[in-house]
């Protein structure tokens, strides 16, 4: 079983958002954007203590629009968790029968689901913030009667045990027999045959004796201490002895600890004396051992753990972080991860990424969904339209859900609008369908994402941490635009601007589409030649309006960067730069030959010229206007 979707309302910084989950889902976003709120919402709804008064939610969890809002007047927290089969018959017959009271069977697909809603709101009669829960039917109405028994909640939890590893995971806690969620259980589960236990205890006893005899002072210490038993005298003779080794097998096992050495020959050291990185990593693997060995016994056949994992990269070296994704992905069960590491994100498939951002409307989450849905009541002709476009559209009547898998084209969109023709609410419905069309325009197909995986792997780690994107054509643009920005006192790195040299990383149009889907503000500068025009056209074909294109894309007047630099009167400086990279006759060249030579030494001259720009800020006045304009525009771009 697995969580397919969470919908959260009025919880901490979240006003209203819905997130779909895959097997592994990775949340990326600045501090305080709401990543932890999402994990907590999930955890609270699936945690055992929850639902009793005073546990789970409290009044500070209720989202408030501003300082003056009263939590008592809020419509309250609502967290809806949906677990749906990923493929027909995914859930065993036993799971379905066990959860029979709450499982919903879809009408048109064989898929089954369970939806739990946890909520908390002010009750004026009891004067408390009351938590509550309910399972929902296919139309999201609370199920009543037998389905509302608490038993069902406990069973549901049993199939979705949640484990949480916070960013500050302390191996000291996690490997302790007092505070660990995993270690104690693992040790408790160990099976020591009785004969071995007897033998071990005998050995321990004799060892204890030998130790006591080794130094006569031990005996006298024991004698002194036994005064205590005499003072607390009872009718029966008590006793006191010194024990140097564990008294019971469990006592001994509970002292089990992890030791480690980095290389053969170095001393073995306990885990707590290792570096932070290895400690943090060990905790993640401890979870895996726990799932492999005792989860099945503690829960049900078919229980799948949900691991909420904060910042798996903590304290690790970049190389280690790069490979970490594969380890996390391979962990058993469903993983919900937050990260601040570009190295980690590098290997995360695009569809698994969720960008979290705090907006004036509360926390917002963006992703690259493979489909888009809207709630549309049954309308005459709607089924027919959906069936005619069956690869693209699907309509389910019970849930009143219209799904688009891809971009909703204008023709189909018109047909959908026609279905609303006679309905009383047609203007409202028209708006819903238009929004669906608009959001489906954000669709990016699998093959395009595949291409990005191939070309843009290294870079994509960091671009998702940037606040703005500047798309340029090549490496030379990349170097020079950075230098121009510094000279204009707007350091791109400092201001969270990622410069994407699109040519080396695939296709500029894909990045424009990505930026739009993830709601990342972006600008672009292209060459004046045909290729530059084609890039612009490619972006236009993704459904950007002319105005938007006009405001976001700039073009050099000349055919390329080199021609532009020369045309801007930077010839003398460029000739000097060329000389330093080994073009001896640079001063004798005609301007068009100069341009050709620059092209031949693209990265070399660009690096040197960039360095030169940093030294001589006055030069910037002669740099290409397109660059200077976008840098001006980047300030304050939203």
């Amino acid at each position: 079983m697995h969580i397919s979707r969470i919908e959260i309302k009025n919880f901490r910084c979240i006003r209203h958002l819905a997130v779909d989950f895959g097997d592994t889902t990775v949340f990326v976003g600045p501090n305080n954007a709401g990543k932890t709120a999402i994990l907590d919402a999930l955890r609270i709804a699936l945690t055992r203590r929850w639902g009793q008064r005073g546990a789970g939610f409290n009044e500070y969890d209720i989202h408030l629009a501003d300082d003056t809002e009263d939590p008592k007047s809020s419509s309250g927290i609502s967290i809806e968790l949906r677990a749906e089969e990923r493929k027909p018959e995914e859930w065993s017959d036993d799971i379905v029968a066990d959860l029979a009271d709450i499982v919903q069977q879809s009408f048109h697909t064989p898929l089954r689901s369970v939806t739990l809603r946890a909520r908390c709101m002010w009750n004026a009669d009891t004067e408390t913030f009351e938590p509550g829960w309910e399972f929902l039917d296919s139309s999201r109405t609370p199920l009543v009667g037998r389905s509302a028994r608490r038993l069902n909640l406990e069973r549901f939890w049993h199939y979705l045990p949640v484990f949480y590893l916070g960013a500050l995971r302390d191996s000291g806690d996690e490997f302790s027999t007092r505070s660990s969620q995993f270690w104690t259980r693992l040790l408790k589960d160990l099976n020591i045959p009785p004969e071995l236990e007897t033998r071990a205890l005998q050995t321990l006893d004799s060892l204890n004796r030998e130790l006591l005899e080794a130094d006569p002072r031990l005996d006298s210490i024991a004698e002194t201490l036994s005064g205590a038993t005499r003072i607390a005298a009872r009718d029966r003779e008590g006793g006191l002895d010194l024990r140097m080794v564990p008294l019971k097998i469990w006592d001994m096992l509970s002292r089990a600890e992890i030791i480690h050495r980095n290389e053969p020959g170095l001393p073995w050291l306990p885990l707590r004396h290792q570096g932070q990185g290895i400690q943090s990593l060990s905790v993640i693997f401890l979870f895996q051992a726990f799932v492999d060995h005792v989860l099945r016994e503690l829960f049900e056949q078919g229980s799948e753990p949900v691991l909420a994992l904060e910042e798996p990269e903590t304290h690790l070296h970049p190389q280690a972080v790069r490979t970490l994704w594969h380890n996390v992905d391979a962990l058993p069960g469903q993983k919900i991860v937050t990260t601040h590491s570009p190295y980690f994100v590098q290997n995360v498939p695009f569809r698994d990424l969720r960008l979290v951002r705090l907006t004036s409307n509360g926390t917002e989450v963006r992703s690259l969904p493979a489909e888009f849905t809207a709630s549309v009541p049954p309308l005459p002709g709607l089924n027919a339209v959906a069936e005619n476009a069956s690869g693209l559209l699907n309509y389910e009547q019970t849930t009143e859900t219209l799904t688009v898998r891809g971009v909703l084209d204008e023709k189909t969109y018109r047909k959908l609008l026609t279905c609303c023709g006679t309905d009383k609410r047609r203007s409202e419905l028209g708006l819903i369908i238009r929004n669906l069309r608009d959001s489906s325009a954000l669709y990016i197909g699998d093959s395009e994402l595949q291409a990005l995986e191939t070309y843009a792997r290294r870079m994509r780690g960091e671009i998702f941490f940037a606040e703005r994107w500047l798309i340029v054509e090549g490496q030379a643009d990349f170097l020079i635009v950075h230098a121009i920005a510094s000279a204009l006192d707007y350091d791109l790195d400092q201001h969270g601007v990622a410069v994407i040299d699109a040519q080396n990383n695939g296709n500029p149009a894909t990045f424009a589409a990505l930026a739009r889907a993830f709601n990342i503000p972006w600008l672009a500068v292209f060459d004046g030649d045909k290729a530059g025009q084609d890039f612009r056209k490619a972006i236009a074909s993704r459904g950007f309006s002319d105005e938007e294109l006009e405001s976001r894309c700039r073009t050099h007047a000349e055919r390329d960067l080199e021609a532009q630099l020369v045309a801007d009167g930077l010839g003398p400086e460029l000739r000097e730069v060329l000389k330093t990279v080994g073009v001896k006759d640079s001063n004798e060249l005609r301007d068009d030959d100069l341009v050709t030579r620059l092209r031949d030494n693209k990265t070399d001259y660009a690096a040197k010229f960039a360095a030169r720009l940093r030294l001589d800020a006055n030069l910037v006045q002669r740099t290409p206007e397109a660059f200077r304009t976008v840098i001006e525009q980047l300030r304050g771009l939203r």
Binding site: D94, V96, D125, S138, L143, R146, Q397
Partner: protein, 638 residues
């Protein structure tokens, strides 16, 4: 744990055990009266659960009365404690209600629907529907509901009635209005429970879902399934399901008027390709009665001729009691007086184990009066659709109003019942107006009005718990108990005493059947059950033959054995070889086979002043009258 089950299995006869342990697909068990069919059913359920302790599938058992379901449940709990959670034992109606609560969304049904079982409620719905659409009715009003019920029982929707003739067009229209009005009131009536569930199972995924949850199905009293119920089972079983186990006795089919049909058993065998096991041994009745029953059945030509005659299991006339006796009286009044006098003279122990049966309720009511005259406690075993005291009707109305605050129909009932026992009337229109202007719920307006009325202050103790329940200050159990306590302390009338005892029984029954449930579910369960009070344990039980199914008593009196009484006037008119006569004969068969020790048959020469011949069944059973049996006037025969 298994001990009880093992012991019980051990005590079964070979043929009973064969049925219990059957594992070769569909099976029909033909079981005569007293053949231990309930035992076979419960053992089978228990054994299926016992052999699958590590599995989660459930076992479904469908019965015809809540009483039978309740009895089966408690027996299963005794046999396999702790496993009964996986046994779903329901009446057809409560099973369908449960299915609809969980999956009705697909048909636009909300989980918290109400069940309208009372004719008055349904009539009101019909009136509202007609008023709303300002329809004029060609039909006589009182005939419409029975017609709609007949259509629903045959799974015929309004659209299918439409195009027959003018008359049906009008009926279809009213039918549709009635259905829409029910849906608007978020309610279902009894026949739509089956019909709507059937519609759900039209979707193969839904049928398959239920096959997954319920691996084994049992149907008790299969001969009594009507067309709708059988269609429901078939649809739910789809093409492949074959773990069906039906127990039937075609000789006990006495519900043909309700669509039950002796041919249905044959359909079952053919449709499911059932094997048949016969349980001919009668463990209940003395040999003389078994013989009489066998003789009687020979006259029914429409029965399954391959069926074995019943075999007596009990020893012959060893106890010295005369197993069958016959009384003859001059008039029906003499019969009532004579029989009541005779029973009055029985010792207390035997009287408490005595059941009096008659073809019609009228005969029993006369007898009931005669018992009153003798100061003998007697109870009519009849289904009661509603409480009889205004007090409990009011309490139920309050609970319903809390559950469905906008229900105006129920508000009327609430106001009227309250004025019935307080003799203070509150203006209904005034309530409505105030609720509308103040935008308050009906119940709170009513509560305010009552509180403001000085004359009603003595009823404060009743009002306050309801008010507290409505605002969440009290839980349903404590609020209800406070109200009931208050009723109890104020010298309850006989009706109220009956109702209080019924309430006690019902709340206990509901608790064992479905556990502690929220108010809405409690009300749904309440609606499905009879509000009959618990009978005084020493009372003589009086029942119609139709109400006697499944009962057994040491001593049975069957009165009114005269032509045109039993068999009924109606069946006699249809002719000696009619199906109607055969059904009457099966009625007589059911009646006499309730007997464990002693059977008394009686007749009078005149009923309602008309001379009536002795019932043909007397001769068929082989009871020819001895002249001495005729006793004129009052008095017991010697």
């Amino acid at each position: 744990m298994g001990d009880t089950l093992q012991t019980t299995l051990h005590e079964l006869s070979d043929i009973q055990r064969r049925a219990v342990q059957w594992d070769h697909g569909p099976l029909l068990v033909l079981a005569g009266p007293g053949s231990g069919k309930t035992r076979v059913l419960t053992c089978r359920v228990a054994q299926l659960l016992d052999q699958s302790r590590d599995r989660r599938f459930r076992v479904l058992a469908l019965t015809f009365t809540n009483k039978a379901a309740h009895e089966m449940s408690s027996r299963v709990t005794k046999l396999v404690p702790g496993l009964d959670e996986r046994a779903d034992i329901h009446t057809f109606h409560s099973f369908c209600a449960q299915v609809l609560r969980q999956h009705g969304a697909h048909l636009g049904i909300r989980p918290d629907f109400a069940i309208f079982s009372r004719k008055s409620d349904r009539q009101a719905v019909l009136e509202d529907a007609i008023r709303r659409e300002q329809q004029h009715l060609g039909h006589e009003f009182y005939r419409i509901l029975p017609m709609i019920d007949t259509l629903k029982a045959r799974m015929i929707g309004p659209e299918e009635v439409e195009n027959r003739d003018h008359y049906s067009k009008e009926l279809a229209q009213v039918y549709r209005l009635y259905e829409n009005e029910l849906r608007r009131a978020n309610a279902l009536d009894f026949s739509s429970l089956i019909l709507e569930a059937y519609k759900l199972f039209n979707y193969p995924v839904m049928a398959r879902h239920y096959q997954t949850i319920y691996r084994y199905w049992m149907v008790d009293e299969f001969q009594d399934t009507n067309d709708a119920q059988y269609k429901l089972i078939r649809r739910m079983a789809g093409e492949n399901f074959d773990q069906i186990f039906a127990v039937a006795d075609d000789d006990q089919t006495i519900y043909e008027w309700n669509g039950a049909n002796v041919r249905r058993i044959r359909s079952l065998v053919e449709d499911f390709n059932c094997e048949v096991v016969q349980l001919p041994t009668n463990f209940r009745c003395p040999p003389r009665i078994v013989e009489a029953a066998n003789r009687l059945l020979v006259y029914n030509v429409r029965r399954d001729q391959s069926k074995h005659p019943a075999l007596p299991a009990r020893p012959g006339n060893s106890t010295g009691i005369q197993q069958v006796q016959l009384r003859v009286f001059r008039t029906d009044a003499d019969e009532a007086a004579g029989i009541s006098h005779e029973i009055a003279n029985l010792d207390d122990t035997e009287r408490a184990q005595t059941l009096v049966l008659a073809r019609t309720r009228a005969l029993l009511e006369a007898l009931h009066d005669a018992f009153n005259a003798e100061h003998i406690s007697a109870t009519l075993l009849m289904r009661r659709d509603d409480f009889v005291s205004p007090q409990l009707r009011w309490l139920v109305a309050c609970l319903k109003q809390i559950n469905r605050p906008l229900d105006r129909l129920n508000l009327t009932a609430l106001v009227e019942t309250f004025s019935d026992f307080t003799s203070e009337s509150i203006d209904f229109e005034y309530l409505l107006a105030r609720a509308q202007t103040k935008d308050l719920h009906y119940l709170s307006v009513w509560l305010d009005t009552v509180r403001q009325c000085a004359r009603l202050s003595p009823f404060e103790e009743l009002i306050e718990p309801i008010a507290a329940l409505a605002t969440g200050g009290l839980n349903p159990t404590s609020a209800i108990n406070q109200v009931l306590q208050c009723f109890k302390e104020n010298g309850p009338s006989e009706d109220l005493k009956d109702d209080l005892s019924a309430w006690r029984r019902l709340s206990g029954e509901i608790r064992t059947a479905v556990g502690p449930v929220p108010l809405d579910r409690f009300l749904q369960e309440l609606e499905l059950r009879s509000k009959k009070p618990v009978a005084d344990p020493g009372a003589v039980r009086l029942s119609t033959i139709h109400g006697a199914k499944g009962l057994e008593f040491d001593t049975v009196y069957l009165i009114g054995l005269a032509e045109e009484v039993l068999p009924s006037w109606h069946s006699v008119r249809k002719g000696s070889d009619s199906a109607a006569i055969e059904e009457e004969r099966r009625g007589c068969f059911v009646a006499i086979t309730r007997t464990k020790k002693r059977l008394v048959l009686s007749r009078a020469s005149r009923y309602r002043t008309w001379p009536k011949e002795p019932s043909r069944f007397l001769a068929e059973m082989g009871f020819t009258e001895a002249p001495s049996a005729t006793v004129p006037g009052r008095g017991s025969p010697s």
